[in-house]
């Protein structure tokens, strides 16, 4: 079985600071692999047995190598950085175009493509279904578990109000977005670190993906940011000393009145 895991590198938002005007200061915030991406990779490694391949790939700037190195440490067999200046400014549509080209040109014949449910920076959750449609494959979102049973995969999805399991024949491509870590979660061993450090992270660009000019990046996008403004920062109101809990409680009750 060939499994492709698309991962995303995001700024570590726990470490993003806020300046005096309430704006985010992102420079200097370390980049980390998105938590749901890690769930997806984890699930892939848990599913893969002997002879199965786990291919990790990330579309992003050269800095996304860090996430890919982490994928190799966690058990991916191969890692690809999908990187080209022409990809800058891609929206979900353009991103799905690039990732589908990767799945067709670089890692054809995959049985399963896994992505994280959504990424903490963009939070659109649009790429997996867009990718599935482009590849003509069925999609499974909010996947919490995948089991192999006989000749099929059983994918367990959690819609919040419904838990369901769908059967999908092995050998036909499925695209899943993962919302929970597999049972595989573990720290990499020292030998895994050493093995990963010796492995190559290959880079693929627009030409390698046979993408025509303008297919990706801002030109290949279907949405455009017209304007941005800082949101309601400045709510910052009165601060009260709460060293006496009883006084603090009455301050809350007063403060609740409109």
């Amino acid at each position: 079985m060939r499994i492709i895991v698309f991962v995303k590198q995001v700024p570590d938002t726990d470490k993003v600071s806020v300046d005096g005007e309430g704006r985010l200061v992102r420079s200097g915030a370390p980049a980390v692999m998105d938590a749901y991406s890690e769930c997806a990779l984890d699930m892939a490694c848990g599913l893969a047995g002997d002879g199965d391949e786990v291919i990790a790939a990330s579309m992003g700037p050269p800095g996304a190598r860090a996430a890919l190195l982490r994928c190799l440490e966690l058990g991916a067999g191969e890692a690809f950085l999908i990187c080209d200046p022409a990809f800058a400014g891609s929206d979900a549509h353009a991103t799905a175009t690039v990732l589908s080209a990767f799945a067709m040109e670089i890692a054809p014949g995959a049985d399963l493509i896994l992505c994280g449910k959504q990424a903490s920076d963009g939070d659109t959750a649009e790429v997996p279904p867009e990718l599935a449609e482009k590849l003509g494959a069925p999609q499974f979102c909010y996947v919490e578990d995948i089991r192999i049973e006989g000749g099929s995969m059983l994918l367990v999805q959690n819609y919040g109000d419904e838990l369901r399991a769908c059967r999908h024949p092995l050998g036909a491509l499925a695209v899943a977005s993962v919302s929970k870590g597999g049972a595989n979660r573990r720290l990499p061993s020292v030998s895994a670190y050493l093995r990963a450090a010796a492995m190559e992270i290959k880079t693929v660009d627009a030409a390698a993906l046979r993408l025509p000019e303008g297919a990706a990046g801002a030109r290949g996008s279907k949405t455009r940011i017209a304007s941005t403004m800082a949101s309601g920062a400045g709510r910052r109101g009165e601060a009260v000393d709460g060293s006496d809990p009883a006084l603090a409680a009455s301050a809350i009750l007063r403060g609740m009145a409109p």
Partner: protein, 351 residues
Amino acid sequence: MSDRCGAGGCGERLPPGMLEAFDLGSPAADGALVWLEVTGGPEPEISQSSLEVLGKAAELGAGRVFGMMFGGSALRPLYGEAFSRGADTVYHIRDGRLSAFHPEAYCEAARDLAERIRPSVILMGATPRGRELAPRLASALSAGLTADCTGLRMEGGSLVMTRPAFGGDLIADIVCEGRPQMATVRPGVFPAPPPAPGRKGTAICRGYGGSSLKDIAHSAPVPPDGGDISRAKVLVSLGRGAASREALEAAESVAARLGGMVSCSRALVDRGLLPQSRQVGQSGRSVRPDVYLAFGISGSVQHKAGMRLAKRVIAVNKDPDAPIRDDADLFIEGDALSVLRELDKALRSPL
């Protein structure tokens, strides 16, 4: 943007061999198509979020409002409800098999419908299923899509979609290149329109001729855990600084007395103290209560993204530099658990 195709039609620009123009970028595109998500098994109803979207679609003034629904003949009683809430035409893709959610089949049928009626705008609630179906349909139609919008308006034929970006510290206005223009709409942001009894419309039934059905082996409802925090008027919310059984008990008691619910940040979910459905934030729910009481919540960017729309925020934290202070109308520097207990005591004693 909308003049990709001149007033004379797209005919002369068609690539050789293409018989019919499916150019939804045409300015002829008109109207708003809304997915009417149906909930409930034997007695189906149109979901609250779909009613909200329907109301917003009617208010946009983008032309006629088309509803589309999927399922068997049990949906027939819902036509009247859809008309009464703003739909002019309801397209019912009638097939009993589609009463379960099949995103591939829904997408196929919705694409055929959109190619026929050429809506300018396609909207869905940003529910888990709406957020799964919308991108597939956007891809099938090569349409732009903005997820989880908190504002929508028309500007000269263009749909301007507002959504929080970067965890809510920025608000972005986004527009689509071409038509249709697609958005999912955050539940609970727009009011559901009041019913207009007697309002009439047209219902059109079509069959589903495709075969993109999933093999659903099991399906079971997840029992509701006592309500939906995204609709609560008062939330007593707990974070890392109040991640204990004692705090949870006090919070439940306070919430009960205030007619509200208990919500939390990720810390409590990670510790198994509350289910994920109670989590506020980017990976949890977005809430908009009248009062948000934050106990021991430091206010990570992800958390703040989910509570920005609260009318009033009161935060208790022992760290005076906690980021939540910037988002609190009233900030109390103190121990979350002690203050919570005192608040519980104060609400118990009749004064």
